[in-house]
Symmetry: C2
């Protein structure tokens, strides 16, 4: 999964980006990671909705969404399973300095990677998870956005290289539980589902949103709130979500072994059906 199957820059095949792109200089942009199954993008509407909201918050003129949806569907159609990474940057700098001048032309990159059809052992057997040493800075300006400033995630992901550890849970600088390095986290206790409110740090994941919506449809109690290390200790079930992994039960957290509980399995079942239907 090293080189992408294809790369499009503003809809045209390419392999390099202008050296003045503000995505490179400042991380001034956003991305989406879209799982494609049966040659179709999953949860595409939720991805494009988040991208559009992110562009609004950053003041980036967002790309033509119907055109972009068509581009993603066309790329997905070329192969049964793939991961499509969309990057939207503010475009090339038109002057030096941090300030945007409003005359930048946003740039859209589409990178399509192959994705194995092998069964995902963590989805079935559960994931082994550690607690990260590093914490996330907290800033409501950026919270929720899937922006290109990901150096914290890079450094925290580099804390371990044991392939038997699948993810780390990360706290924010205030001590609140935020998320995994590349996933959102949910706790279940007495049949209540809890997930960190993504108001000070973290990414508001598309699969997180889908899980909250499906929980509501099922009549399950689900809330977004400020969660602590104590909440984590008291959770009976823990699971991780992102667009690619769907739902991973956590079977081990540091020294603690957890069962894969009924709420996690119920939500996995519903989300799996959702992805099979190709709904967004």
């Amino acid at each position: 999964m090293n080189r992408p199957l294809q790369v499009q820059i503003d809809g045209v095949a390419g392999s390099a980006v202008d050296v003045l792109d503000r995505g490179l200089h400042y991380g001034d942009g956003l991305f989406e990671t879209i799982a494609c199954r049966d040659a179709r993008p999953c949860l595409l509407n939720l991805h494009l909705q988040r991208l559009s909201e992110g562009c609004a918050r950053l003041g980036i003129v967002h790309p033509d969404l119907p055109a972009l949806a068509g581009q993603v569907r066309d790329a997905a159609a070329t192969t049964p399973r793939s991961i499509i990474k969309l990057i939207v940057t503010r475009g090339s700098a038109t002057a030096r300095g941090y300030g945007a001048h409003g005359d930048e032309a946003p740039r859209t990159l589409l990178l399509q990677y192959g994705w194995s059809a092998d069964p995902d052992p963590q989805a079935q057997e559960g994931a082994v998870v550690r607690i990260a040493h590093g914490r996330l800075g907290e800033n409501p300006l950026l919270a929720g956005l899937k922006h290109l400033n990901r150096l914290e995630q890079v450094l925290i992901r580099n804390e371990w290289n044991d392939p038997g550890i699948h993810e780390a849970l990360v706290f924010g600088s205030s001590g609140a539980l935020i998320s995994g390095t590349m996933s959102n986290v949910f706790l279940v206790r007495n049949a209540r589902i809890m997930t960190p409110a993504i108001t000070r740090a973290g990414v508001r994941g598309v699969m997180r949103r889908a899980v909250l919506r499906e929980a509501e449809h099922l009549g399950l109690a689900a809330e977004e709130s400020t969660l602590s290390a104590a909440d984590l200790d008291e959770a009976q079930e823990i699971f991780l979500t992102n667009a690619r992994i769907g739902i991973w039960p956590v079977r081990r957290l540091e020294q603690r072994t957890l069962g894969i509980g009924p709420t996690t399995r119920q939500l996995q079942h519903v989300v799996h059906a959702l992805l099979e239907r190709g709904d967004a």
Copy 2:
């Protein structure tokens, strides 16, 4: 000052960067902004020292520093005054995901911009400064580094577009004063010089370091500490530093008018002489 005079990518003239560069995907890299006067780079040793320290903290194999110094000097020699921006990224991704795999080949970009020889009115008359609404997330993992995750600075710089306002002072999420958007800040009170300790947020600026060193040489009391809004209110002199502007006295902060005091002028004089000598 839109397009650079020249761009080198790993020492070769170029204009585009591999679409897989981790600088673009994650902001996984560092930069330096080097002022060049009389066809020579100013404070080059301090810039390269910081770059080297930053590479060590990020686990990036740092570029050959003597070779890089030669490359910067050669570029500077092509024109009397310029700004050279160096960017070092971890290089192209060798796999998907945040983790670095250790087999990336770091990439060095050199962008040289023209720089007007017109007198800088803010250096003489002082700068007009506001207080930013947005705050900086605090994270010791990243504090001090001049890394490529600059979206906070972009958003805060976009809070105003009045060209009569030259800079904004920014607080961290804990309420501590950190810096300007593109400068470090110093306060003077009863002949004591104070600057925020850059341990939780902000960039440890090269000019900041030079000013602290010169203050010590002059026998002035200077300290790095945690500073608050009250310290700002009580300051008799305030000045801003970066490699390009040198020292800007603050003559107005929001509604308050400040005089340009003797300590600021003394340090300006010393720093000006230092830059004239071309010392690092």
